[in-house]
Amino acid sequence: MTRKLVVFACFVVTAVTLVPVVMMVLVAFQSDAESMAAQPSFWPGSWHPENLTRAFELVPLGRYLLNTIIFAAGTTLLETVTAALAAYAFARLDFPGRTWLFGIYLATLMIPSQVTLIPQFVLVAKLQGIDTWPGMILPHAFTALGVFLLRQFFLGIPRDYEEAARLDGANRWQAFVRVIVPLAVPAIATLAVFKFIGQWNNLLWPLVISNSDSTRTAAVGLQVFQDTNGTQWNLLLMAATITTVPLIVLFFLTQRWFVRGITMSGLGGR
């Protein structure tokens, strides 16, 4: 293929791929009548930036977004911290039972989250955790995947660095915090970005565990939006845009890590 043809093909493919995202934004700015007309138009006949504030007035979208941030950030923070600690022990410390314990962690990697959904729900219900933050966050804050990914990375850090710190009198904890963690920032950040995006996207768990506006996330809230307002497409898609944009911004800010994370996990088979 000639270079010009390649560039042209890339432009066409990218343009087609982005159509749904562009449409979401365009319809979000249409007037009520236009967006609900029997014959939908693609470019807004007139622009209605006030749809932005109307979406926030129609449903407590601000509250939903705040809830989504609390849910995604809470699970991400807990997961990365606990996974980093455990991964360090699995990668670097010697203790009886290490092999089989790590084996148990690995074995659960393939279990679909639907298997744990019902027992987790029952557990949270028994502990009076329905519609509370601990009930939302804790069950999704500890996964074997995070431990697995970080352990793989820690194994690649030369032992000499840590040994040097230990010879200088640092204890285990200091070696972990001052040597290992700074070296592992890219891996930890990768895990954090993955986790955050995954939880921002999570529909099933918040759907079963939150039943009021105090914990309802945006993913669940969009559904309520549809229920209460039928097909008021401009406001529905405005809400969808508002819910998606923070994620896209985060994605662009962190995409180096994101891509590296996908690459890292992709090469996991090698």
């Binding site: 293929m1 270079r3 390649v6 493919v13 791929t17 982005l18 749904p20 449409m23 319809v27 939908p40 693609f42 911290v81 606990t82 600690l85 455990a86 022990a89 410390l93 010697d94 203790f95 148990i104 690995l106 659960t108 679909p112 639907q114 298997v115 744990t116 019902i118 027992p119 029952v122 557990l123 804790l138 069950p139 999704h140 500890f142 996964t143 074997a144 431990v147 194994l155 230990r166 921002w200 529909l203 759907l207 079963v208 993913a219 969009l222 559904q223 549809q226 809400a239 969808a240 845009t241 995409q255 994101f258 891509v259 996908i262 690459t263 996990s265 992709g266 090469l267 996991g268 088979g269």
Partner: protein
Amino acid sequence: MAVETLPARTPVRPAPTRSGPTPRWRSKETLAAWLFILPSLIGFLVFTAGPVVAAGVISLLNWNLFSSPTFAGLKNFARLGPDPTFWSALGNTVYFTFVSVPLTILVSLALALLLNQGLRRIAVFRSLLLLPYATITVAVAFVWIWLYIPQDGLVNAVLGWFGISGPAWLISDDWAMPALIAMSVWKSFGFGMVVFLAGLQAIPQQLYEAAKVDGSSAWQTFRSVTLPMLSPSLFFVVVTSIIGSFQVFDQALIMTNGGPGSRTTTLVMYIYRTGFENYDQGYAAAQSLVLFGFIVVITAAQFVLQRRLVHYDN
């Protein structure tokens, strides 16, 4: 994923500041290790390992969450046989998986090959093409409903340019599932594309030069160099895509709510309905274990195939 062999044991040596006997240092290391693992372990036992065991127990119960459970034995599993909705949910999930996974792989591989043609601005195209992957399924599902509007929705408008009158996608018995699949391929091809790009860029250039010297055609080079060298990435994407497809839920719930009839009711949606709309927790747990069983069998089969088809250069 290949698990690396465990690293060599930490050389046992006395702590620098203390000249105690070796066992004492080792027990200190054990204590430190458990302290590091404890936060993760408690969460893991309570919220992952425990619930997996509990799912097995719950599947043996008659339980609607409100009354006290009674023992049901294997009755919940026996109920699966004569339950037409379960079988159609399973059939729909298999249909979804076996169409969407090959399509996703083809699209991501084609785009990775395109982007790998020595393009200068590759990062820009790569990020833009990865954009659908970074959107929220629920939010973009709503856009796709809008695109699929039967009269003059964008999809049918474009088909109209070619003289095709498109179906009423999401309410059509035959087309609701293909419509979901198209949306899912759009949503997820970016992941495979990035993995393939990484795989392509790791192929040594000499192999292509050697193929050129031998006078291979483009197709021969692809068959005998690119594909074998790419097979580990391919294997990884196939395994993860199949596992993901078996768990499809969000877009089906939003775009079709399982309809028309139960044409797009997936296994996970049926589990959700059984457990949280019909409050039949025992039966829902039994279904989730069957789903798990399918995932294990299919993944195991892939690992067996892998030994014959995947090329690892060690």
